[in-house]
């Protein structure tokens, strides 16, 4: 008798606490007696109704979508349920400052001389506009990326250990599942495109594939960050590929750049700029392709869910959910395809730069 009763009371109390405190949290706390509690509940209900009316009027699907695909200083799973993340700022006068982003939870979104500005994406601006700050905060994207990095390291070091443990034996379980993917990347993506010296680039390209894949998949989870749909991430990846290509590129590649073979001298005036633009176009296309694909997927899914709130109808929801389910499957496919394409194009890019016989593709 005792335990079920206690369970019931605890549950009721927890539920009541959640119900009362969440809407009331914006107001002043500190109700001591019964009357005040009732008053607070009334006020909270008014507030909720008010908010609902307001949101009915003001539901802006564009803003909602931008808010979801943009980076943020806290990890919001649903309305009001958010993990505050550390804010790291560097400024010349104050040095490095670290504090929690929950400090911005006040009326003016202001703390310690900094504003949290909600625009399309969040930025932290100093109140004193003369100061220049650098924001190195662990944002939602950084946290998600670190999570995926930890997942990657855990998965693949354990698989690496499995290979060391059963030397000369058939792969088992998860090891064999991953082996198929690793072999696919090695034999069908890297080996034919990079050429005979592929082994030097294999670790980078494998990491690239799995990093993009894990971040793509994680990004599909509800409440997760849109890491690979962020241009800073794809830019960094593309630039790393660009650097690897140009560190390892051979003479043929550079010669081809300044004097493409078989081109008459007057045409060189046009061809050299075209070749040079081509050099930068390749990483640029890598960057934009991944960013645009992932962001577009998120925008489509969010637009579909936004439709439910625009129509405000019970009957449209199942239809849209079905459609969103279908699109989610497509997005899972896209997650794999984009990771594959990024790796494939990086391999081709590296392969064309280290090719021995000057048959480098012309970058068109």
């Amino acid at each position: 008798m005792y335990t079920p009763l206690r369970l019931f009371i605890t549950t009721a109390l927890v539920a009541a606490t959640c119900f009362f405190t969440l809407p009331a949290s914006a107001q002043e706390s500190g109700h001591d007696d019964q009357n005040k509690v009732a008053e607070g509940v009334n006020k909270a209900e008014h507030e909720i109704e008010h908010n609902l009316e307001e949101s009915e009027e003001k539901f802006n699907i564009g803003q909602m979508i931008m808010h979801h695909i943009a980076d943020s200083h806290e990890w919001e799973f649903s309305h009001g349920v958010a993990i505050p993340l550390p804010v790291i700022l560097y400024s010349e006068d104050r040095g490095i400052e670290v504090f929690s982003s929950s400090n911005f939870h006040n009326e003016h979104h202001e703390y310690n001389g900094y504003h949290l500005v909600h625009g399309d994406s969040e930025t932290i601006e100093p109140v004193d506009e003369a100061r220049k700050i650098y924001d190195f905060s662990i944002t939602k994207n950084v946290a998600s990326m670190m999570l995926s990095a930890i997942i990657l390291v855990l998965i693949f070091t354990s698989i690496g250990k499995a290979y060391q443990r059963n030397v000369g034996k058939a792969p088992k379980g998860f090891q064999s599942a991953m082996e198929i993917v690793i072999l696919f990347i090695r034999d069908d993506v890297v080996k034919p495109n990079v050429g005979p010296n592929y082994e030097k680039y294999l670790p980078y390209l494998l990491t690239l594939f799995f990093f993009i894949l894990v971040n793509n998949i994680l990004g599909l989870l509800p409440g997760a960050a849109n890491v690979t749909g962020n241009i800073a991430i794809t830019m960094t990846l593309a630039v790393i590929t660009f650097i690897i290509v140009h560190i390892n590129a051979n003479k043929n590649y550079y010669k081809h750049l300044v004097s493409p073979p078989g081109v008459p001298a007057p045409l060189l005036l046009i061809m050299i700029p075209v070749e040079v633009v081509g050099v930068f176009m390749k990483p640029f296309s890598l960057m934009v392709r991944l960013f645009a694909n992932m962001t577009a997927g998120h925008i489509i899914l969010l637009s579909l869910f936004g439709l439910i709130f625009i129509f405000q109808s019970m009957f449209i929801a199942p239809v849209i959910s079905l459609f969103a389910l279908f699109l989610n499957f497509i997005e899972i496919m896209v997650a794999f395809i984009q990771a594959f394409i990024f790796t494939l194009l990086s391999s081709m890019y590296i392969g064309s730069a280290i090719e021995e016989h000057g048959h480098a593709d012309h970058g068109h």
């Binding site: 931008m66 944002t139 390291v153 290979y163 670790p203």
Partner: protein, 164 residues
């Protein structure tokens, strides 16, 4: 447009995290994985090669064996044939020789018999002549007293002559 403006802080963290991941995975994951895969492939290739080689060797051994058996059979056949030939020849030879010997013995026996016959006949002739002479001598020696005693004497002599 903020969507298209890369955030420097994010780039910084991305660089740090991604390069760290590349480094850690390259050292602790890809190295053993790629090595393991390659070792396994080499092992499988080696096993396949060995099987192929063993198969070829088996085929060679088999054909060698067959050749050996065929050779042995041929040798056996030849030996048997030789032995048979030799025995046949020996039998034929001995038969011939035996026939010749037999003939020779028969001939010599015939000669001997003929010689003995001749000798016996000659001897008999001589004996008969001698006997006749003796009889004649005895007859002549005794004077014929009577006719009866003469006849008696002749029959006696004749019977004693028949004894020979």
């Amino acid at each position: 447009m903020s969507l298209l403006t890369p955030n420097p802080g994010l780039i910084f963290w991305m660089l740090v995290v991604f390069l760290l991941v590349v480094f850690i995975l390259a050292k602790f994951a890809w190295k053993p994985i790629i090595k393991g895969l390659k070792d396994r492939e080499n092992e499988i290739q080696g096993a396949l090669d060995l099987a192929e080689r063993t198969k070829a060797e088996m085929v060679k051994l088999k054909s060698d064996n067959e050749k050996l058996v065929a050779e042995a059979n041929a040798v056996r056949d030849r030996i048997l044939r030789d032995a048979k030939d030799a025995s046949d020849r020996m039998i034929a030879e001995s038969k011939d020789r035996a026939a010749v010997e037999g003939q020779k013995m028969i001939d010599s026996a015939r000669d001997t018999i003929r010689n003995e016959q001749h000798a016996a006949i000659a001897k008999m002739r001589k004996e008969v002549a001698t006997l006749s002479l003796e009889i004649a001598e005895q007859v002549l020696h005794r004077e014929l007293k009577d006719k009866e005693s003469q006849e008696k004497l002749i029959s006696d002599l004749a019977s004693s002559a028949r004894m020979n």
